[in-house]
């Protein structure tokens, strides 16, 4: 067992950190307040290949498709300075571009993947609906076959990247087998007539990332845009989300790390009762707990990535990673604000933003409760020895 990063991974980490601190961090605050990603940073992220991290070079990516640990490192470093960017590229890569590479046909890769990997187009994964959240089976958006095409009708909500995406993976109901719905995933080009973006959500945290309602009115999608097979949408969605959770977990690790670093810095600088507050046990305990939590999340995340790269079933561990890392980030951000005292409430200190951003991690792509459900179901069915 080897816990050290290889030289290439160290370089990816170092360069991404330098890039993130140099380009993303200076405008993170402003982007949060404007609820919009910075256009210049967007261009730079494109040039740097961050939209194609886990895609092979022949499709315009960085060639790290077999090295999910590197994808984790990159997402973590981006998330460390700005959770909004961590989500934007994380979601784009993990639950849109990567599934098209993994499960798509060569034709689909040529038509959609290259533009996604190069960042010419942003991608999104659309599952959630008004009545289908934690219960993914509740999908109502329907697709009806019409010759060589399918016609989609309905709407999705809370779609991360929804408003800025041009390539969507849309989970639609294509039939019913007894009490069970039959779901299928369609790759939808947003320039297709009948598609429109509805409400752009005004959120508590990760405000610069786009979360939108998407409306489909007689949207015609050709048969060859089906990802995988007709009727396999539910199982495929679960696989896609397994990988997506690694990305969310990584972004949360980055956020937790940022909260920890800010707290350490402040604890050494802030003087009360004649000494730095870091000398007080009350603060020390918080710092230790934060560090332990963040590191646990990181280790589980890397383990899930390792299992993924080695062809093992990583579904259980990725759920654990997402659960632990997101709760660690929330805990770390919570403590960070507490350590900062009154200053922690102020926009002048980034921990205020971390606190708001952290809450997202516990909710989207499966709430903490759903992760616990997934974890417990597997354990109860297969026993504890599957770990």
């Amino acid at each position: 067992m080897d816990f050290t990063l290889n030289e290439q991974q160290k370089m990816l980490k170092k360069i991404t950190r330098e890039f993130a601190e140099g380009y993303i961090a200076p405008v993170a605050e402003e982007s949060d307040q404007n609820s919009k990603l910075d256009e210049k940073v967007f261009q730079k992220m494109k040039e740097m290949n961050y939209f194609g991290t886990c895609i092979p070079e022949e499709y315009g990516g960085a060639g790290l498709h077999d090295d999910t640990i590197s994808f984790c490192i990159v997402t973590e470093e981006i998330g460390r300075v700005d959770a909004s960017w961590g989500i934007t590229t994380g979601v784009h890569c993990s639950v849109c571009a990567y599934p098209i590479y993994k499960f798509g046909t060569e034709d689909q890769r040529q038509r959609f993947l290259i533009d996604l990997a190069k960042g010419n187009k942003v991608g999104a994964f659309c599952l959630t609906e008004a009545n289908a959240g934690s219960d993914a089976g509740g999908v109502q958006l329907g697709a009806v076959k019409d010759g060589d095409e399918w016609i989609l009708n309905g709407s999705k909500i809370f779609a991360t990247n929804g408003g800025i995406a041009e390539t969507l993976l849309v989970v639609a109901k294509t039939g019913e087998k007894g009490s069970r719905k039959e779901l299928t995933i369609f790759i939808v080009d947003t320039n297709t007539p009948g598609y429109s973006v509805g409400v752009k959500e005004d959120k508590l945290g990760v405000r610069a990332s786009n979360t939108s309602e998407l409306v489909f009115q007689d949207v015609h999608v050709p048969q060859e845009n089906i990802l995988g097979k007709t009727g396999e949408g539910f199982q495929l969605s679960m696989k896609i989300l397994d990988f997506g959770r690694i990305s969310i977990a990584s972004q949360c690790v980055g956020l937790g790390q940022a909260a920890l670093e800010a707290s350490i810095k402040y604890s050494n600088e802030r003087i009360q009762f004649g000494r730095p507050i870091g000398r007080f046990q009350g603060i020390q305990w918080k710092i230790s707990d934060m560090a332990c939590a963040v590191e646990s999340g990181r280790l589980l995340t890397y383990k899930a990535a390792y299992m993924c790269d080695n062809g093992m079933d990583y579904s259980l561990v990725s759920a654990m990673a997402k659960l632990v890392a997101s709760e660690a980030a929330m805990k770390a951000a919570h403590s960070a604000v507490q350590i900062h005292g009154g200053y922690g409430l102020m926009k002048a200190y980034p921990v205020e933003r971390y606190f708001r951003d952290a809450k997202m991690g516990e909710i989207y792509e499966g709430t903490s409760e759903i992760q616990r459900l997934v974890i417990a179901n597997q354990l109860l069915r297969k026993g504890a020895n599957i770990l």
């Binding site: 030289e7 290439q8 740097m48 290949n49 790290l64």
Partner: protein
């Protein structure tokens, strides 16, 4: 055309600190980086490659760990990288360093079709030593023209036209032919970041070639400590103790007292 870029691994100086309690250097967690000026040199070389076509070759002399900065250079888009590493090279001052770098450049040029079609670029100085001497000394060793402190560059057929700072107020535009050596200022460009795919290429498709004293066959009197005319006699943390008088009192008293003192010192 070959463009050689000589780069150096340095400690991130901005993070070097003195521990005020022990009055010693705090060394924990100081990262090693590419000398920032050298990144500008790499950027210029890559721009020349993109605009005129060239093979960009990075060379660094240093311990085996210096491979890291050569990988970073490769990640940025440099074609080939050479690491000159040998215990015999250690302790080199700028004379010995420039001699060793010149050996490597000459060796690489041996296989070139046109042995005069090359350019050498360095950062104007390294942030650890701040000497800026290796460039001119290397140019002398290679017997080629040098232009130091360059802030603008243009290549027109074999002619190089550059802007060099002369003093803070004056800029000189100079022209020379290839081969030549340039040392560049930070103002000349903004170095690119290695892209993700650039990094992957640097570790999977490119290599860092190590050259030791056996391969470079130097005159042993000219390398390392033996080839260095200067030696570090001592390194110390500057003492900064002045005879201090802390002036106390009300603001008015302080102002009066200070003026009185400055008058006594014949300054006011």
């Amino acid at each position: 055309m070959k463009v050689f870029v000589c780069i150096k691994q340095v400690p991130g100086v901005s993070e070097v600190r003195i521990d005020p309690k022990t009055n010693t250097l705090v060394r924990e967690g100081i990262p090693s980086i590419i000398n920032p000026y050298d990144k500008n040199a790499i950027e210029l070389a890559l721009t020349i490659k993109e605009e005129n076509g060239a093979e960009v070759i990075a060379i660094s002399m240093g311990p085996p760990q210096a491979e890291e900065i050569l990988r970073e250079a490769l990640s940025m888009g440099v074609d080939k990288a050479f690491l000159l590493t040998d215990k015999a090279f250690a302790g080199a001052d700028t004379l010995a360093t420039s001699y060793t770098l010149a050996l490597a450049i000459k060796r690489i040029l041996k296989s070139a079709k046109n042995k005069k079609d090359y350019l050498v670029i360095l950062g104007a100085q390294a942030i650890d030593g701040d000497t800026g001497q290796v460039g001119p000394e290397l140019a002398e060793e290679l017997d080629i023209p040098q232009i130091t402190y360059v802030q603008k560059f243009e290549l027109k057929e074999n002619k190089i036209i550059v802007e060099r700072i002369f003093r803070t107020e004056e800029v000189v535009i100079i022209e020379t032919q290839l081969p030549a050596l340039l040392s560049v200022l930070r103002e000349i460009n903004i170095p690119r970041f290695p892209t993700m795919s650039g990094i992957v290429d640097a570790y999977t498709k490119k290599e860092v070639i190590s050259l030791d004293a056996n391969e470079l066959k130097p005159d042993k009197r000219k390398i390392g400590l033996n080839g260095s005319m200067t030696e570090v006699w001592k390194i110390f943390i500057p003492e900064r103790k002045a005879e201090q008088i802390i002036i106390k009192g009300t603001n008015e008293e302080i102002a009066q007292e200070l003026c009185r003192n400055l008058k006594n010192d014949k300054i006011l």
